[in-house]
């Protein structure tokens, strides 16, 4: 019987054929901890193994992005626990507080390959599906067990196919496509499903756009998502990893639970309104809402292309005096490129603030917390109640919409104001 991508990947790591719904033990290629969850993993691991050795120090990575550098002493302590563990276990892949968002950093360092299984203490691990890797977020017990055993139990998720029909142009972006996807699916529309994307728009989506879409599959409760690997992305992965890249593709006759067709012809800029990511409307429907803060960054929209899109909107303009505008590159590599390309200057001259790479205020771990009844437009992925400040209202939008909103001081539809020549 034909297999879906996820069945092939898990089967390959379980050493047997698997089908949706099966419970199997599968080998892990990479287990990742962060300053969030990481210290608990270390403590649990030490207790479970009586301070034993990890299964393979080369297959463990530590990234600091939740609160890097630490703003409370407890987190500083937690990071120290991870560092000490790395030294004790001979784990060389420790990415310090200067590096940025873990998944993006691992990708830049060539540690993520199509067909591999990566587990980590971050529910957005699965954005690495953008390059064909089965990456999934887990709790601390799982990761502690993975550190000890190099394998874990998996439920094989059923697969769904999502086909985007039609196309759209600037100022709609991959984020708007993503929000439309979340709207159509709803908060649990891909619950524990492996989503395989198809469509012309998908084929042409650059890595940054795929990361955006893959990261928010989480917001539809999806387990993972996959894209047809493009030549450009394969070349990038080869260059970074120094390895030959073999895409994993589904077999003819693979079984899909369902096929969903989403028409994105002439897609308009979208925005997720408080307090759920699937509460998506056209930006034009909420135009005029006054905002106090705009955040451009996160694992969803912190790529260079995202920053560039925001900078193009902000260039030569000033952000509204009421709007605290915070720009956060995903990684130090993105930061360096943005610095060299003059993006920092554009942001700073516009009155925005550029912070160090990391998850930024997307996790309440980082600075940028909102006051009660304050309103923010964020390019992040979650706008749950209280997510970045008790009693605050968060809207999720594209970097273009966010940047334009920062300038206008209120939510503004880029389709009305901007168009690319």
């Amino acid at each position: 019987m034909g297999k879906t991508i996820i069945e092939k990947i898990i089967g390959g790591h379980a050493g047997k054929e698997v089908s949706a719904g099966d419970r199997v033990w599968a080998n892990i290629d990479l287990a990742v901890i962060r300053d969030f969850g990481g210290p608990n993993v270390v403590l649990e691991f030490d207790e479970a193994t009586n301070k034993g050795k990890v299964w393979d120090p080369g297959k463990i990575a530590i990234t600091f992005d939740y609160q890097a550098p630490a703003k409370v002493a407890k987190v500083a302590e937690n990071q120290r626990i991870c560092r000490d563990f790395a030294i004790r276990q001979g784990i060389e892949n420790l990415f310090e507080v200067n590096c940025g968002v873990g998944q993006h950093t691992l990708l830049e360092h060539g540690m993520i390959l199509p067909g591999s299984i990566v587990v980590g203490t971050d529910s957005h691990m699965n954005l690495l599906g953008a390059v064909g890797c089965y990456a999934t977020g887990m709790g601390t017990t799982d990761i502690a067990a993975a550190f000890a055993a190099g394998r874990l139990w998996f439920r094989v998720p059923p697969s769904v196919k999502v086909i985007f029909e039609g196309g759209f142009t600037y100022p709609a972006t991959a984020k708007d496509l993503t929000l439309e996807f979340v709207r159509v699916m709803g908060a649990d529309g891909s619950l524990f499903r492996s989503v395989e994307f198809e469509g012309d728009m998908i084929d042409n989506l650059p890595l940054s756009g795929r990361l955006t879409l893959a990261s928010m599959v989480t917001e539809t409760s999806g387990e993972i998502s996959f894209f047809p690997l493009s030549g450009e992305i394969a070349a990038f992965l080869e260059k970074r990893s120094g390895r030959k890249i073999e895409p994993v593709i589904s077999d003819p006759g693979a079984v899909y639970e369902k096929e969903i067709v989403i028409n994105i012809e002439g897609l308009r800029p979208k925005i997720a309104c408080p307090h759920t990511p699937d509460n998506v409307k056209d930006v034009r429907e909420v135009e005029g809402v006054e905002v106090d803060e705009v955040f451009i960054g996160s694992c969803t929209n912190g790529s260079f292309e995202d920053l560039k899109a925001a900078a193009e909107v902000m260039k030569g303009k000033k952000v509204h005096p009421r709007v605290r505008t915070i720009v956060t590159p995903a990684t130090s590599e993105v930061a360096l490129k943005a610095l060299k390309d003059g993006l920092y200057e554009i942001f700073m001259e516009a009155g925005a603030m550029v912070t160090n790479p990391g998850c930024a205020l997307c996790t309440i771990g980082h600075p940028g917390i909102l006051g009660e009844r304050e309103v923010a437009v964020s390019t992040g992925n979650r706008n749950f109640i209280g997510k970045i400040g008790k009693g605050a209202e968060v809207y999720l939008a594209s970097p273009v919409t966010a940047a334009l909103t920062a300038i206008e001081g209120k939510i503004t539809d880029p389709a009305r104001v901007l168009s690319k020549v």
Binding site: P39, N50, G139, T141, I385
Partner: protein, 175 residues
């Protein structure tokens, strides 16, 4: 291990995310008993859950319970505040794993809506998935827990399970 639990029912709606179950503010906490004090604190209407919950209570939820973050604090806070079983129309993937891994039983039941009012006495058999509303004298069938999850629960969680199956080769002498 116990397979049948009887207790008061707490009833919540759809899409209760991990920030509502256990808010990000409290992530630095590592003591489960401390975590328990903040269980369900951001669920509108039952902010005082942690104060009122009693040992042996059951939690009945709508669709997609536990969506969002990978924080294990979420099931941990429920387990340590006394919740014996979480029953939901459906569970988010990470929450599901986390609960099983720490030994908190789950039952999925599609026909849960309308089954119980808050504080009804409910009985659940995790092995068969049978749900009885003692107060209303009704019953419905949920999905029985699959074998692997049941075995992990019986072992007391993932770590003891894997240990007892010889999956931890690198156990040290301690330091």
């Amino acid at each position: 291990m116990e397979e049948v639990f009887r207790g008061r029912a707490w009833v919540v709606g759809d899409d209760i995310d991990t920030d509502q179950i256990y808010h990000g503010t409290y992530l630095p906490i590592t003591d489960p008993k401390e975590m328990a004090k903040h269980a369900m604190e951001y669920v509108p209407g039952i902010e005082d859950f942690a104060k009122k919950v009693e040992e042996g209570d059951l939690l009945l939820c709508g669709r997609n319970f536990g969506s969002g973050s990978s924080r294990e604090h979420a099931p941990m806070s429920l387990k340590y505040c006394g919740i014996k079983v979480v029953i939901a129309e459906s569970f988010a993937g990470i929450f599901y794993r986390n609960a099983v891994n720490i030994g908190l039983p789950l039952v999925e039941c599609e026909s849960l809506p309308g089954f119980a009012e808050p504080m009804d006495i409910v009985e659940v058999d995790i092995k068969t998935g049978l749900l009885k509303n003692i107060t209303k004298n009704t019953e419905i069938h949920g999905a029985p827990l699959p074998d692997l999850e049941m075995e992990i629960l019986e072992a007391g969680g993932l770590i003891p399970y894997m240990k007892s199956h010889g999956m931890f080769p690198g156990v040290g002498a301690g330091a």
